[in-house]
């Protein structure tokens, strides 16, 4: 996620450079043919271009709105994950009647909170298609991480494991039905958050809304020099490239934010949010804080 105030053009340029270079060469050709070689038939009235431009604007606006909607929903889901994680950690640490006499064992409440931290990291890795096991080995221990390798959906497996640990706690009399129900609601919320994230990840925008705007933008950019050359002559490439860049940039920008879990600079800042959740939950457990905050790198937070 970009946090700096200024968008550097060098970030946009690699995505638009080929199209713009081709268009510049084409515009220069049209301008020279019209102005130097008197190919006057190349000049078109601006009338056909105006409705085409309006149609493209409608497509691009819809597409940009849809892409932003997905990006914002992803951010909201991770915001809910922060809230749910904190609520669950509080419940684990306060609602279990634990026997603290055995100092060798990690208290169940803390183990549950560590599993909640592991869930967050596993969900982040699951969405980014990243291997979570080195991280899970550090949070849960090598043995617990090794058990999770049998599962294809690791965050769901961790959620299930939390449920089983609570079931065992209930059988041992550490928790009653009312408290279990309250905790289970938050576990269900975790599943819902995971499901919604997977929905965004696995369901792209309809391809028609990806293909048609790009096609129309390309067609418009190729026609613009014909509409401008009659009035601008040899200055046509300058104006034409600027107009083309506007439409291409709008197309590129919406394309970049429509998938918020692709491990790009435009992603939801899951790494930063995961770190914040882990720090908060470790504070709740009164563990020493050894983790640093995640700060923006080159104007981006990951």
């Amino acid at each position: 996620m970009m946090v700096s105030d200024q968008l550097s053009l060098k970030r946009l340029w690699p995505h638009a450079s080929k199209r713009l270079m081709l268009l510049l060469a084409f515009d220069c050709t049209i301008a020279v043919l019209y102005s130097v070689y008197d190919f006057k038939f190349l000049a078109l009235s601006g009338l056909p271009l105006a409705p085409l431009g309006s149609a493209i604007t409608i497509f691009l606006a819809f597409r940009t709105n849809a892409a932003y909607g997905r990006w914002w929903e992803a951010r909201q889901l991770w915001g809910n994950l922060v809230n749910t994680s904190r609520a669950l950690a509080r419940q684990f640490l306060t609602m279990l009647d634990e026997n603290f006499e055995d100092v060798e064992q990690i208290p169940l409440g803390r183990r549950l909170v560590l599993h909640q931290i592991a869930f967050v990291h596993a969900l982040r890795c699951h969405l980014r298609r990243q291997n979570p096991f080195p991280e899970l080995a550090g949070v849960l221990g090598a043995d617990d991480a090794e058990q999770l390798r049998a599962y294809g959906n690791v965050p769901a497996a961790i959620n299930l494991k939390i449920g089983r640990m609570l079931k065992q706690a209930r059988e041992e009399g550490m928790i009653d039905s009312f408290r279990w129900t309250a905790i289970d609601e938050n576990l269900t919320a975790l599943s819902n958050i995971q499901g919604a994230c997977e929905r965004i990840k696995n369901t792209p925008l309809p391809r028609q809304f990806d293909y048609l705007p790009r096609l129309l933008v390309n067609a418009f950019c190729w026609l613009v020099p014909f509409g401008l050359v009659g009035d601008l002559g040899l200055m046509t490439p300058v104006a034409s490239v600027l107009i083309s860049f506007t439409f291409i940039a709008a197309d590129v920008v919406s394309r970049e934010i429509e998938d918020p879990f692709e491990n790009t600079i435009h992603d939801t800042p899951m790494t930063s949010l995961s770190r914040m959740i882990e720090k908060n939950l470790r504070e709740q457990m009164e563990l020493p804080n050894t983790l640093r905050d995640v700060h923006p790198v080159e104007g981006f937070v990951y």
Binding site: K10, N131, E135, A137
Partner: protein, 292 residues
């Protein structure tokens, strides 16, 4: 449990390519049970120590939870910093992604990866813009080794076999015989590379039989345009890692050396293999094998 003999150094400039390479690094760390060092060389003229330190600890932040991970920061020129650090790390694997595309031609660009391959004996892994091996967190199932000619040696095959044994993966030996043309017999003055697919298959089979787990080795030989067909062989083998020799990783022209363009189009991650024997890769004992 991490075997501290395997050491992966991830050299980063915090570019978009470095961020995109993080899933690949996570997969390699898990596959090799390696300890990870995240290395950044910063220019003190452009950045203060505090800024660079903050960025280093924010980059790949999740690695702080890895069982064995450290972050190192060096000031000075990038090339000298990386090579000096790696020289002190025995048998380390250096991971260096490609630089970000800028959308403009770079006629005077000197590839850092090429310079490091030439300067360092250590193995280097690199990832081009279109390549990724971190798309899933399953184990690596297919590893390929590209053989061009007997003169390049078999160190990379040895290391590929060791990787395959370690990861319980299938090893694929790839070779592309050049197209038949009038001057091809002249190449026999400089190289003992096979000129036909049958001889090439025989050569690769001899090499494969010397490898441990030779029943898990597959041979892929074809004839034609090297650049196009190597990519095709990689797709056929479904290889996720490609081991190449230092000789075939670089292409020299009049002005400079560059990464072999044949490898730029490959869909797998590239690995450049050290020429010197590494103490880590002793499981495959191979002699020098010439084709028939």
């Amino acid at each position: 449990m991490t075997d501290s003999n395997r050491h992966l150094i991830f050299a980063t400039s915090f570019s978009d390519a470095c961020h995109a390479a993080i899933p690949s690094v996570a997969r390699i760390v898990d596959a090799l049970s390696a300890r990870l060092t995240i290395l950044h060389v910063y220019d003190p003229q452009k950045k203060t120590f505090r800024e660079a330190d903050s960025m280093l600890h924010s980059f790949f932040a999740e690695a702080d939870n890895y069982p064995h991970c450290e972050r190192q920061m060096i000031s000075g020129p990038v090339f000298e910093g990386i090579t000096e650090f790696c020289r002190h790390q025995k048998d380390a694997l250096l991971f260096l992604p490609a630089s970000d595309r800028i959308g403009l031609p770079r006629p005077f660009h000197r590839s850092l990866r090429t310079r490091i391959i030439r300067a360092l004996p250590a193995s280097m892994w690199t990832l081009n813009q279109t390549q990724k091996i971190g798309s899933s967190y399953g184990r690596v199932k297919h590893i390929a080794a590209w053989l061009t000619c007997p003169e390049e040696g078999l160190d990379h095959v040895r290391q590929a076999a060791a990787h395959a044994e370690m990861m319980d993966a299938t090893l694929h030996l790839l070779h592309v015989v050049p197209d038949v043309h009038e001057g091809m017999l002249g190449s026999t003055m400089f190289s003992a590379a096979p000129l036909g697919t049958e001889y090439a298959s025989t050569w690769l089979n001899k090499i494969a039989k010397q490898l441990p787990n030779h029943h898990n080795v597959k041979i892929h030989v074809t004839q034609g345009h090297r650049k196009r067909l190597l990519a095709k062989l990689l797709r056929q083998s479904q290889a996720e890692l490609l081991m190449v020799s230092r000789q075939s990783a670089l292409q020299h022209d009049f002005f400079r050396a560059a990464l072999n363009p044949t490898l730029e189009d490959c869909s797998s991650a590239l690995i450049c293999v050290a020429q010197e024997n590494s103490s880590l890769w002793t499981s495959a004992g191979l002699g020098s094998l010439q084709p028939a």
